[in-house]
Symmetry: D2
C-alpha cells in the first residue's frame, strides 16, 4: 500500500531529522524560550522581512487557529468559509473557547470581500455577536491559492471594518511555490495581522510558527499558549526544526513544498491523460479528481487515498495529496497502475 492520503504520512525531512539528531544531547531552556527557538524566530523574521513581529512555535495547526482566535473578547466572532478548517474539521475547538464562527459560502475555498461586507451589514447590535476577525487559509483546504490582488482586497475590507485578518498557513509553502502564485512571505505578513507558517505538513515532525504582526494581539500571548495546552516542555524541538527549514532563505522549506506541488501536479497531468476531470482546479499539492467508482475501488486495493464525497451515483470526488516525501517513482508506479485500472472492465 502506498499512501496519497495526506502530507503527514512520513516523519521529518532529512535536513530536519539531521538537525534533531545533532542537537539531541544539548541542554536548553524549557517551554520555547531556548536559543534554538530564538534563532529560528530570527530566521523567520528575515525571510518575511518583518522585524516587528512576535514569533511563537506551536504544537499544531488547530492550536494555532484556536490561539489566534482566543485573542478576541468573549462576544467577538470570526468569519470563515464553510470549508474553512476551523469550521469543518476541528471538532468545535473554536466554539469550545466560546467564540462563534460565522460561516459564509466562499468560492473555491476562498472568501469573497462582499461576503465580509454582508456579514458586517447583518451584525449591527448586541443581539448578535460582533464579527472581529476573518479566517482564511492559503493554500486553502481545497488546494486553491489567493492572488495578491485577492488577498489585498480582503485585507482592505478588513481594515475598513476593523477586523483582524488571520491566515492559516498549514500549507503556506505549497501556496508560495505554486504556479500562478504572486505572493511572497513578505506580502503575507504585510497583508495580515497574524498568520502561521506550517511545519507539520511540510517536513517537520511537528510544529508551526505563529507570527503576530498586530500589536494589539501580542500582549501575554505566551499565557494563552500555556492555557490552551499548546506549549511544549521541550520547546526547542520545534525551534531546531524551523532552523533547518528556514536557514538559507527558507531553502529546505520551499524545496519541500515545491516537491509536493510538482508531484501532485504530475498526478493531475496523469489523470488528464485519461480524461478524468478535476472537481476543483488546484495548483498545489492537493488535487481532487472525480473518479468512476469502479476505478476508485481498484486504486484503493493498492493506494490509500481520501474520499472527499460522492459526486454522483457512479463517481466520487477523491483527494490525492503529495508531500516533500513523495518520490517520482511513486508517481510512475501510479501511472502504470492507473493504465491497468482504467482499461480493465
Amino acid at each position: 500500500m502506498y499512501s496519497f492520503a495526506n502530507d503527514y504520512s512520513e516523519g521529518a525531512c532529512p535536513k530536519v531529522l539531521k538537525a534533531l539528531i545533532e542537537t539531541n544531547d544539548v541542554q536548553s531552556a524549557g517551554y520555547g524560550v531556548d536559543e534554538y527557538s530564538l534563532a529560528a524566530a530570527d530566521l523567520i523574521k528575515q525571510v518575511i522581512e518583518h522585524d516587528d513581529v512576535d514569533v511563537h512555535f506551536i504544537t499544531g495547526g488547530t492550536p494555532c487557529n484556536v490561539l489566534a482566535i482566543s485573542t478576541l473578547r468573549a462576544h467577538e466572532a470570526v468569519i470563515s468559509c464553510e470549508s474553512g478548517h476551523i469550521n469543518a474539521h476541528e471538532t468545535g475547538a473554536v466554539e469550545a473557547t466560546g467564540h462563534k464562527i460565522i460561516a459564509v459560502k466562499g468560492k473555491n475555498g476562498k472568501i469573497l470581500p462582499q461576503e465580509i461586507r454582508d456579514v458586517m451589514a447583518d451584525h449591527t447590535d448586541e443581539h448578535k455577536v460582533r464579527p472581529k476577525m476573518v479566517f482564511i487559509s492559503d493554500a486553502t483546504e481545497l488546494g486553491t491559492i489567493y492572488t495578491k490582488k485577492e488577498l489585498t482586497a480582503i485585507s482592505e475590507v478588513c481594515k475598513e471594518y476593523g477586523l483582524y485578518l488571520y491566515l492559516d498557513g498549514a500549507r503556506l509553502g505549497n501556496a508560495l511555490v505554486a504556479t500562478g502564485n504572486d505572493l511572497s512571505f513578505k506580502d503575507i505578513c504585510d497583508l495580515t495581522d497574524i498568520f502561521y507558517i506550517g511545519g507539520t505538513k511540510n517536513g517537520a515532525w511537528l510544529g508551526e510558527a505563529l507570527v503576530i504582526k498586530n500589536d494589539e494581539l501580542k500582549p501575554d500571548f505566551r499565557y494563552l499558549i500555556k492555557q490552551h495546552c499548546s506549549m511544549l516542555a521541550k520547546g526547542r524541538l520545534i525551534g531546531v526544526q524551523f532552523i533547518a527549514l528556514f536557514r538559507d532563505k527558507a531553502r529546505a522549506y520551499l524545496d519541500n513544498a515545491r516537491n509536493a506541488d510538482i508531484m501532485a501536479q504530475a498526478l493531475k497531468y496523469i489523470f488528464r491523460q485519461f480524461s478524468i476531470p478535476m472537481y476543483i482546479d488546484s495548483s498545489t499539492n492537493q488535487i481532487f479528481p472525480i473518479l468512476e467508482n469502479r476505478v476508485l475501488e481498484k486504486i484503493k486495493s493498492n493506494y490509500t487515498v481520501t474520499e472527499w464525497g460522492p459526486y454522483d451515483k457512479d463517481h466520487t470526488i477523491v483527494r490525492f495529496v503529495c508531500s516533500w516525501a513523495t518520490q517520482k517513482a511513486a508517481i510512475q508506479d501510479f501511472y502504470n497502475d492507473l493504465v491497468m485500472y482504467v482499461n480493465e472492465d
Copy 2:
C-alpha cells in the same frame, strides 16, 4: 553552564532517538490511529496488566490533565492539593474549560483522605459546585511519593463518594523506582479511574500515555483530544517513542527513571555532607535543599537551578532535578564546585 533546572533539558534518550530514526521514512496513518500507536498501547496494557483500558497518546502533561477533567459535566469540580500542577502551574487551563478546582492544603504534596471528606461535607447543594474528581500526582510536584496504603485509602474514599480518581504521572517512573515505593504499574491502574504515564520527563521528545480504566470516561474521548488541541497529525511520533520505552517490560522507561532518581539522591547525599538541610524529604529525582544565599549565588554562576521560594532572609529553597540524561561526572563536578563555594567566604 550545566543545568539541574528540570528533567526536560535534553532531547530524547538514545533508544527513543534510534527508534525515531529507524521509522522516519515509513508511511503511517495520521492522528494516532497508526500501527505504532496501537502497538505501544498493547505494550502498555501488558505492563500495567490491564487489558480493559483505553490508551491515548497525548502531546503533554497539561493537555492530559485538561482532557481527564474535561470528561466532567459543567458544574462538576476537581479536588486538588494547593501544590497540584493543575492548581499552581497551568495558567488556569482547567478553569478555561469551565471547571472549578477545589484546592486543599495537603501534606508534603499529597492529599489526605480527610480533606476529601471535608470537601464533600461542605458541598451539598446547587449553590456550590459538585466535586466529582480527585487529582493527585505520583511522584508529587514536591518529589514525594504515595505508599500503597495511602493510595488505597484515597481510592476508597473516592469510591465511597462517587468521585473519579485521576493520577498525574508526569514523573510516574521516578515514583515507581524510588526507595520506599511499594506501588506497581498494576496497582496504579487498579486504584485509579484514569491516569497518565509521562514520557516527556522520562526520555521522550514529547508525549504522554493517558490510560482510561473507568468505562464512564471512555466514550468519545478522541473528540475531546481533538477539540482540546492535543491530537498530533503525525501521531505515530508518540507511539514510536513509547514502543522504545515500554518494550521488554518497560525496561528503558524504568532505567531512565532509575538514573534520574539515583543521581538526585547522590546530590542529596552531597548536600547532607555539608549539613545542608532539605526543605522536604524526597526520594525521587527532585530535591529541595535550603541554601545560604551566598552559596546559591556562587552555584548560579555555573549551574542553572530553580529557585523555589525564599526560606528566610538568608536562605532560599532551591530545586535540583536530575533526569535520564544526568551523568555521574556532572554530579562529581558539582561536588567539587560545592566544596569551593561553601568554603570560600
Copy 3:
C-alpha cells in the same frame, strides 16, 4: 407613538399583576423551591398531561436555550435553522458555553427531517463535532407553526439518530391557538425531550417554564441554572405568575395568546385589503408585510415597528407583532392611518 414592535412592550397581564400584588407580602423560600413554584409546576404537569417531568422556572428565553444545550458534553453540537433564535439573535450565548451550532437552511423557519439526516451523514468522526440535539421553535421566529405531522417526523428522525429534540416555546401559546394548529400541550411533551413554555411574551413580567421529559437531561439541572446566571433569589416571582397563567387549564395563558394572534391576523387582513403582500404566511402573532418604503416612512412617524430587512430597492420587509395587550382600538386606528398613508402620494 404606538408600538407593534414586539410582544414585550407592556408589563404583566391583569391576572398576573393581581396575583403578584396579592402574594407580595407573603414570606417564601428562595431560589425557586417555594410553594408557589411547586404549585405552578403541578398545574403545568396537569395541562401537559405528563407527570414524569421536571419543571424549572427560568428568567428568560435565552437562558432556557443555553441551559437545555448545556446538558450536552463538550464536543456535542446542536442542529438549528439559520433563522433559529440561538443562531441568529443570542450573541453567541450557546457558543459561549462551548457548543457549536450546526446551522441548516430550513424552510419558512422550520427544520426539515432531511436536513437532519444530511448533517448526520456529514458528521461521522472525531474531526467534526458530534451532533446530539435538534433545536426548533414553535411558533418559529418567522411566525410559522409546525403541524403534528411535521413535528412527528422530526421527532422520529431524532430518535433514529439518538438526538435530543428541544423546542423553544417562547411563543408556544401563539402556536397552539393559531389557525391551522393541530398540536396540543400534550403532543409537544410527547414528541420532544425538553421544551419551554414562554411566559415573557405572553403576559408575564418575566419567566419561562422549562420542562424536561428525558431522564438523561434531568440530573443536577438546578446546578446548571445557578451556574448559568438564571436562578432568581425571589424565585417565587415566576411561580406566582405561572399559577395565574395556568390555573383553569391554562385559561389566561391561552386567552392571552389568542388575543395576540387575532389582532395580528386582523392587521394581516388590513394589509391584504390594500394588496400589500406578506413576506411569509404566518398564522400567529407576528406578520411580515412587504411595504413600500414611502408608506413605511409614514407609518414610522406614528408607530414603532421592526424593519426585518430590505426586500428590494423600493420595499422593506417589516415585522408587526401583537400581544395579549393589543386592543381592537389600536388596530382600527392603524387601519384609518394606513388609508391615509397609502393614498397620499
Copy 4:
C-alpha cells in the same frame, strides 16, 4: 413559621410595588434601553455623584459578578476572599466563563492589602494565571463592612499593580447605613473600577444596578449582558424599580436598608441579653449568634433560619437576616419566644 433565613423572602417594598402597578400598561422599548431605565441610571449617577459612568440593570447578583469578571481576558484571574460569594456560593459560575479565582484567607470576610501583594509576588510568569481584578463585597458575606481607610488601602494596592477593583454591593445599602460606616455612595465609586448596587435584597422584586467607572471595562458591555443570559426582554421592569428606590436621593433605598440593619441589631441586642455570643461582630442586617443546639432546635420549630456551620459539638453558628420587610412585632415575638426557649430545660 416566621423566616429570618434571608432578605429575599418577601416581594417588593411598597414604593416599588406601587411604581410597577402604575407603569404596568405603558409601552416601552425592550432590553433595557427604555426611558425608565435611562431615568433610573440618571438618578443613580446623581446619587453617586459620578456622571462619567455606565449603568446597566442586571437580573441578579451572580450575573453581575460573572459579567464584571467576563471583561477580563482568558488568562486573567480574580482575587477573592475564600468567603467571597463568587468563590463559595455561585456553583462555579465564574470558572464556567473560563476564569480562575485566586482565593485568599481574608479576615472577617474582608480582604487584606498584604494578601493582594502576596498573590502578585507569587504570580509572575505565564505558568500561572495573571491576576487582574480584585473582588470584594460591602457589606461582606459575613455582614461586616469596610471602613474608608480600609477600602482606600485596597484601592491603592490595586492601582499599584494594575488590578481592577470590583465591589459586589448585593447589600451595599446595608453597609452604607450601618453603625461605623464612613463610606458614601460617592466614595464607593471613587475607590472602585466597577461595582453594583443591589436591588434584590433591598426591596426590589429583582434587579441590580451595575456601575462601570473604568473606561476600559465599558466597551460592548451590552453584548456581554446578552451573551451571559442576563438581559431582560422587559428590561424596564428593573428601571422602574430603581426609580422608586433612588428618587429623592435614594430615600427608599436607604430607608429599606436602615430598617433591615436596625432590626438585625435589635436581634443582636436580644441575644446579648441572654449572653449568647456572636460568631462575628456585624453591624448590618446579618448576624451570626452561636446557639446551643437545644435552643436552636426550639427556634427552628417556629422560625426559619440558616445554619451556617457547626461551632462545637454542642453549638451551632446560625445566621439571622432582617430586611426592609422585617417588622418590630416580629422582633418582639422572637424575644418572647427566646425567653421561653432559653429558660426551659
